[in-house]
């Protein structure tokens, strides 16, 4: 059962990197002015980051990791485990973890793992790395989580283009008796697999002649089978169905009240959905910082981006309990209760 705690894990530092190129939703051609304004107001996304050709999730994550090593004075040679979470790897194979091992100069003995997860990915990755570190008695672990999801988006799809954005992150963990336990609660409903999906290019529907043929799927929604297709209504309903019960279950299991965590870091999906979750939990909005307006939906990296964007002035100097909640492709969801004690946390890094 995916409701468990891993003892003795400390977060040393967290860093996020985004491409320097920003797109402004108020300048989007896909919609008329009124619709654009309504979108920015209700969905809450003003700016998105777009990685240029030749920049991959691995580049964003490696940049974040290099900065993190500098900030924490930790050395790559001491990393014993690496988990890389992405849905936009450099290659179909080998996985990004191997590319990162070389680029960062990690030891050959590093336990490497690649995880294909979307917006629940940071929590899944954190749980996986923590569990590996605990089982394999690894002293220091590195979690890389990022996507260049904009490269999967149809330029003629108003249901996805204004939403998605690119980012990569790095988190350093240390096994330490000074570290508390991290508690996790993960879940999934595979019946929701088509709710967020790229249909062609795998092996069920190999890339072929029809893969690039754009279809009209609704007003303002024109995309091909190689593009990311997201069913907005279903994402809303799956999220509302699972996220809050999952968090409540974790809080109960850890004996923590809803008021306990200092901050709730939700995956940044859209303001309507996120405000709905905050209301359902009865949270004060200032307990749920956002990065939607400035960075959009950066797929699996929204949780670290939000932390680096909003908590950079707090985390390095204090002790905070954070409830992390991710949900998305799968349909998967997961929450984690984590102690952040003097955690290195630079502001979001802009590349190039």
């Amino acid at each position: 059962m995916a409701l468990f705690s891993v003892p003795g894990i400390k977060v040393t530092g967290i860093a996020s990197a985004v491409p320097g190129v920003a797109a402004d939703n108020l300048e989007l051609d896909l919609m008329g002015k009124d619709e654009r304004d309504a979108f920015v107001k209700k969905v809450g996304i003003r700016r998105r980051r777009v990685a240029p050709p030749g920049v991959c999730a691995s580049d964003l994550c490696v940049a974040a990791a290099e900065r993190l090593f500098e900030e924490t004075n930790e050395r790559p040679e001491e990393v014993g485990a690496l988990v890389f979470v992405t849905q936009t790897p450099d290659f179909l194979l080998p996985g990004n973890s191997m590319l990162a091992q070389r680029r960062l100069g990690l030891p050959q003995s590093t336990y490497l793992l690649d995880v294909n997860q979307g917006c629940a990915g940071y929590v899944y990755g954190l749980s996986t790395l923590s569990a590996v570190m605990h089982s394999a008695r690894v002293k220091k672990g590195l979690l890389l989580v990022g996507d260049t999801i904009t490269k999967l988006i149809s330029p003629d799809d108003k249901s996805t283009l204004p939403i998605f954005s690119d980012a990569g992150s790095a988190t350093l963990l240390e096994s330490s008796t000074a570290g508390g336990a991290i508690s996790f609660n993960l879940g999934s409903e595979g019946g929701g697999a088509s709710v967020i999906r790229v249909r062609d290019g795998g092996f069920r529907h190999p890339f072929g002649k029809g893969s690039l043929d754009a279809q009209d799927e609704g007003p303002g929604i024109r995309r091909a089978p190689v593009h990311l297709a997201m069913q907005g209504v279903d994402v809303l309903q799956y999220s509302f169905r699972h996220v809050v019960p999952n968090i409540s279950e974790l809080l109960d299991a850890t004996g923590c009240r809803v008021e306990g965590p200092d901050y709730y870091i939700f995956h940044q999906a859209n303001r309507l959905l996120n405000d709905g979750l905050v209301k359902k939990l009865g949270l004060s909005p200032d307990k749920a910082p956002e990065s939607l307006a400035d960075f959009g939906n950066t797929s699996c990296a929204t949780i670290p981006v939000t932390i680096n964007h909003r908590l950079k002035d707090l985390l390095p100097d204090g002790r905070y309990q954070l409830l992390l909640s991710g949900f998305g492709a799968g349909f998967s969801w997961g929450s984690a209760l984590v102690q952040f004690d003097s955690v290195a946390c630079p502001g979001v890094i802009e590349l190039g």
Partner: protein
């Protein structure tokens, strides 16, 4: 959840409030809501969230697709409430 009486009239008034700048009494039970220019996929999410918040009901994308009029939406919510 609202303590207000749940009936067609109160449902329609609440629905009108989910639209920006819609004069009240614009919607009738026979209004084909999809023909409204204000009915975008974004607006459909706003309305579905309001159904969840005001009535505690979840409408799936298939159920929504089957509805054509405001009256159909009322019936969907009414059925889900178990009234």
């Amino acid at each position: 959840m609202s303590e207000e009486t749940f009936n067609l009239q109160s449902f329609i008034r609440k629905l009108e409030r989910q639209f920006d700048e819609l004069p009240s009494e614009s919607l009738t039970p026979d209004t084909l809501f999809r023909n409204f220019p204000a009915w975008t996929s974004l607006q459909s999410l706003v309305v579905l969230i309001s159904f969840d918040e005001d009535y505690g009901v979840t409408i799936s994308s298939e159920e929504l697709q089957g509805a054509q009029t405001v009256g159909d939406l009322y019936n969907l919510v009414k059925d889900k409430r178990g009234d």
